[in-house]
């Protein structure tokens, strides 16, 4: 269960993702952005950070890194891809996920613990969670304000492609619980086929008790478990 972690100049959560995959029982390996092959990886993680300094727009330059052709092709073939924080921004810029991540409505960099509601279980990424489970994990971004045009948003909701929504402790997706102005409190979505996930909060920073939360670990366990089942099948 080899899981490729793409490292761009400016990535800073690649090691968090490496540790997450290890703890979930997978075999992580770093793939430098100038590589052109994923080296037979079974799944891909695009980690958080500030790839290429986030110049122009977050993810805008990273999407043209040489490795991204392989990542795009992998996703199109149905391979599992997870983009976390900056990784989500990269996947949107690359057209692998719909919409865009705008500057936070508050204009401030948000760096704090947040709550997420699991909107759908049984996916490749959420099989380790319960329906409507409330998760706690950190978020850390300036541009996490999810936007898509009304038509796209309706399709995302109709097809149940919002996997995570910002919520309060009780699980209400209220305006107060929305840290960045994201439409419909969207924190994480999948593509139409369901094999590409993008999310702003950091499950990779919630994998050990010492970090204050272990709510992110089941996501990596779901991912590793899905890959393992595919290998058996």
């Amino acid at each position: 269960m080899k899981i490729a972690i793409i490292t761009f100049p400016g990535s800073n959560c690649d090691q968090d993702c490496h540790r997450s995959v290890e703890l979930a029982g997978g075999s992580p390996r770093y793939v430098w952005h100038r590589e052109t092959s994923l080296g037979g990886a079974d799944a891909v993680i695009v980690p958080g950070g500030f790839a290429h300094g986030d110049y122009l727009r977050p993810g805008a330059i990273a999407r043209f890194s040489p490795i991204m052709d392989a990542v795009t092709a992998f996703g199109e073939e149905g391979g599992l891809v997870v983009g976390i924080c900056n990784g989500f921004q990269v996947l949107c810029e690359a057209g692998m996920l719909p919409g865009a991540l705008l500057r936070n409505e508050s204009l401030s960099f948000q760096s704090h613990h947040c709550r997420l509601r699991v909107e759908r279980t049984g996916t490749a990424f959420t099989s380790g969670y319960r329906e409507r489970q409330v998760l706690g994990m950190p978020l850390s971004h300036a541009d996490g304000n999810y936007y898509a045009d009304a038509g796209t948003l309706a399709v995302l909701e109709d097809e149940h492609r919002v996997l995570f929504r910002y919520c309060d402790v009780q699980g209400n997706a209220s305006a107060d619980a929305n840290p960045n102005g994201s439409l419909n409190n969207i924190a994480g979505i999948v593509n139409a086929r369901g094999n590409v996930l993008g999310m702003m909060p950091h499950p990779d920073r919630a994998i050990e008790a010492v970090l204050g939360s272990v709510d992110g670990l089941p996501l990596f366990e779901s991912l590793v478990g899905t890959v393992a089942r595919e290998e058996v099948a």
Binding site: I61, L102, L107
Partner: protein, 89 residues
Amino acid sequence: MSRFKVEVLVTPRPGLLDPQGKAIHHALSSLGYDAVEDVRVGKAIYLEVAAATPEDARERAEEMCRKLLANPVTEDFRITAAEADGAAP
């Protein structure tokens, strides 16, 4: 081949929330500029492009906008091109 100065203006699409514009609008209002009804913030990108004609330079810039300089989901762009040695944009 001539050298053209190309100015690319990238602006948030109409109707899209522009928190920077909102913050500036608020600041202007508190300075007493009550006549300001709306503020939108974009960015200007200046390119120097070698091309045969201004149309050619503009076409190249348009391609760059579609590919990289603007995000079609959230941004519009406007391009002006002028000979580099002439009046600068």
